[in-house]
């Protein structure tokens, strides 16, 4: 267990380093007059002059040798000092705190919805591998996998907003605004979690101990509760950890499409406006979020299955 924690810490440092390098390169790639453009964005075109641009250049370390600049850059990052957003001028931490709430609402709703659909369908399909439900699930999940989330969003918008006019296509604040983006996200996640659950369940249902349970005289329901649930648990929990990446990607695109004022929406804007501090803060948050979540997954998996924890690092 200590080894697993150590590994996650090393991973966190490595993620920070990776984000540091990437965003540093991004900053280095800013065109020469970018300092001027940033200054313009910050103070308005009328009040921009060479001095203001120079101040921005200084602040971002655009004038120092690369190695020294990177050292300073990375130290700031480790102190979680991201500076201020180049575009809005507000501290990056504040901006992110603002947007995170909206994103978590959306992600949480989508995840809850997908868990209501995916695992139960997966269990039923896995218990009768090769049956009609199983084959149906394969067809549906392959089809859903071939519809990217933005396309699903587009289809739902065209269908429910444009064609039928039932739901708003974009916006934030009312419960109705939740339905389309959450459903868009949930459909893809549900298909994936159903497949994972199905494979895990089919695996468990094919084990000698599942058969032995029958020979002991247990009924199918008793068998599932006693020997099925816990044994598919590790696969499910591990999948939840990996699904985070899928969820984040979905959130970025879906927020941009539905105009949801969350972290993904802001990220797209920050990239578009070359707002390096914002990109850095968001990327680090997402990367460390992934690491933290998977550390939690390690713990949960250990709780479900205490055997052989030494491989915790290799699982992610």
């Amino acid at each position: 267990m200590i080894r697993a924690v150590g590994y996650r810490l090393a991973q966190a440092v490595m993620v920070a380093l990776l984000v540091g390098v990437l965003t540093f390169l991004m900053m280095q790639a800013l065109p020469g007059d970018m300092a001027f453009r940033i200054a313009a964005g910050r103070y308005g075109y009328d009040s921009v002059n060479a001095a203001a641009a120079e101040a921005v250049r200084q602040e971002l370390g655009l004038d120092r040798p690369a190695i020294e600049a990177f050292g300073r850059w990375f130290m700031d990052l480790l102190r979680l000092d991201f500076g201020t957003s180049v575009i809005s001028g507000a501290p990056v931490i504040e901006e992110i705190r603002h947007q995170l709430g909206a994103s978590l609402q959306l992600a949480g709703a989508a995840l809850a919805l997908s868990l209501l659909i995916g695992p139960p369908v997966g269990v039923m399909a896995g218990l009768r591998a090769g049956g009609w439900l199983d084959r149906g699930l394969l067809v549906v999940s392959t089809a859903l996998r071939s519809v990217p989330q933005f396309l699903m969003g587009l289809i739902l918008i065209v269908l429910f907003s444009i064609q039928l006019g039932w739901l708003p296509a974009a916006g934030y604040g009312r419960p109705a605004h939740f339905i389309l983006p959450a459903l868009t996200l949930a459909l893809g996640l549900a298909a994936a979690s159903a497949r994972i659950t199905r494979d895990a369940m089919a695996g468990v249902a094919g084990t000698p101990f599942y058969a032995f349970g029958r020979w002991k005289g247990l009924g199918e329901g008793q068998l599932f509760r006693r020997h099925g649930l816990r044994n598919i648990g590790v696969a499910l929990v591990t999948f939840l950890g990996l699904q985070f990446a899928m969820l984040v990607e979905g959130v970025v695109v879906i927020e941009a499409i539905f105009g949801w004022p969350g972290i993904g929406h802001a990220l797209v804007h920050a990239i578009f406006g070359r707002d390096v501090p914002m990109v850095q803060g968001t990327a680090l948050l997402l990367g460390l979020g992934f690491v933290a979540l998977n550390a939690a997954v390690d713990l949960a998996a250990h709780w479900i299955d205490p055997r052989g924890t030494e491989k915790a690092g290799a699982k992610a």
Partner: protein
């Protein structure tokens, strides 16, 4: 004696093909019944048809009466209500049949609680009592990975019977277990018989069949070729196959000629000590291997038999000690045969291709292959197949051929026949020792079967000791003769 299980005209089909010809048998309370046969003989299918656990795609027919309940096997599903309550199935390799995440007590208790309807509290008490009766006090809180193979077997036995079954069907109960554990299993099963239960055992293990006694049926290619009281069948076999089977058992092999070591050793080891996983396997071990000599290594599983061979080949490293090869001999002349023959060949290429690769690599004389094939009784057609398309015995002989092409001076055979059937085992072992005598290579052969080593080897090195006295040591085997001494024989429990 009451008949608890009566099977009439039980047969098994896969589509139009008949896998098991109609068989009738009766199981009486207090008298064991054993079905003996090799891998693929259909013995397990027969048992599975009787207890209703046939895999999908196979069809059974016939009638079975289980403790008064009559079932038509052509209509599957009828067994479900009898499992656990009337008939207990002890599965193959029980350590795989226990829920890996559940403690032993709970796995036994659920039969009492969910099938017999006791409260969970009473069921737990009952489970503890069952486990204690089988000598497993205190094991109730352990998960299967914390149990030894023998303990897992007893837990599975308790679990299979918790719901009250009086008819027990045990499928290959000694598969994967040490010889030393075999006695425990027999005791476990016989106990059931003494208490008035009925027992049907399916096995390939001649010794198990002999020790169980009762009635015996010998199965070959889906047909019962001989049946009767076990002692009668085994001492006075009528069918040719039964005779060959009994003759192939290492305990009935003729005693090979023991030769004293001759010439300078091709391989010497001095003062070897090995610890694995915190366990000291052996210490201060000296070995000399001479040309043409056959040396056996015997010991219970986990005693370091294979590790010792790997160390001599340089595949593993000792904590202390040295291995010296006779100077001037090419490294490829020190070779190994593996326990699982298919895993020793590249999986995806034809066997002929694998041999060609070897011939090309070392510039060998390919003209030797046909002669060796004939000598090892291998059909040339096998060379056009992949490893998965050839039987284990043939593949092991091909592995021997591959090695012989390199004119080895030393061959380490790591349980080369433990995955093979009795008759094949006899053939392969005989060819191995002939190869050693004819080519003058030193053969180090690892086995868990003391009789096999006793009949084959010039001398035998025993590693580790069985927990109780002589129960597991080879009979009449010189323990560490010749040039070695075994300073410490480390007890393993």
């Amino acid at each position: 004696m009451t008949i608890l299980l009566n099977a009439e005209n039980v047969s098994v089909h896969a589509g139009a093909e008949q896998l098991v010809e109609p068989v009738s048998l009766a199981l009486r309370a207090g008298r064991p019944f054993t079905i003996l046969g090799e891998t693929g003989s259909g013995k397990s299918l027969l048992a599975q048809a009787i207890v209703g656990t046939l895999p999908d795609g196979l069809r059974a027919s016939g009638q079975v009466t289980l403790d008064g309940h009559a079932l038509d096997l052509a209509r599957p599903g009828g067994h479900r209500a009898l499992w656990g309550r009337v008939i207990g199935v002890l599965p193959q390799e029980p350590w795989l049949s226990l829920d890996p995440l559940m403690k032993a007590r709970a796995q036994v208790a659920e039969g009492h609680a969910l099938v017999r309807g006791l409260s969970w509290e009473d069921a737990g008490t009952a489970a503890d009592r069952d486990l204690a009766e089988l000598g497993l006090d205190g094991a109730g809180d352990r998960r299967p990975d914390q149990l030894s193979g023998g303990m897992a077997q007893r837990v599975a036995f308790a679990a299979a019977r918790a719901a009250g079954a009086r008819i027990v069907v045990a499928d290959e109960p000694t598969k994967g277990l040490d010889v030393a554990r075999r006695d425990d299993v027999i005791e476990l099963l016989m106990r059931e018989v003494r208490e008035g239960g009925a027992l049907l055992t399916i096995t390939h293990d001649l010794a198990l069949a002999r020790r169980m006694g009762g009635d015996l049926a010998v199965v070959l290619k889906g047909r019962v070729v001989e049946r009767g009281p076990a002692d009668q069948v085994l001492t006075n076999p009528q069918h040719d196959y039964t005779r060959r089977l009994i003759a192939a058992d290492p305990s009935s092999w003729p005693q090979g000629l023991r030769r004293p070591p001759k010439g300078a050793p091709v391989l010497s080891a001095r003062d070897l000590s090995v610890t694995r996983g915190g366990k000291r396997l052996f210490e201060g071990l000296d070995i000399d291997l001479h040309p043409g000599e056959i040396v056996g290594i015997w010991g219970p599983s986990g005693c370091g038999k294979s590790t010792l061979g790997d160390i001599l080949l340089g595949l593993a490293h000792p904590d202390r000690g040295t291995v010296t090869r006779c100077a001037g001999i090419a490294p490829v002349r020190f070779q190994k045969l593996y326990q699982d023959p298919p895993s020793a060949f590249p999986r995806h290429i034809r066997l002929g291709q694998a041999l060609d690769d070897l011939v090309r690599l070392h510039g060998l004389n390919a003209a030797r292959i046909p002669g060796l094939m004939e000598r090892l009784r291998l059909s040339p057609i096998l060379l056009s197949r992949r490893p998965t398309g050839v039987s284990g015995g043939e593949l092991q002989r091909l592995a021997l051929l591959r090695v012989l092409l390199l004119d080895p001076v030393f061959l380490f055979a790591d349980e080369p026949t433990s995955r093979l059937d009795l008759i094949t085992q006899a053939e392969v072992t005989e060819l191995l020792s002939e190869a050693a005598r004819e080519t003058g290579m030193a053969l180090l052969i690892v086995s868990h079967d003391p009789d096999l080593l006793d009949r084959t080897a010039d001398r035998v090195i025993s590693l580790g000791t069985a927990p109780e006295g002589d129960a597991g040591t080879p009979r009449g085997v010189p323990r560490a003769g010749g040039g070695e001494r075994l300073r410490d024989r480390v007890a393993l429990v």
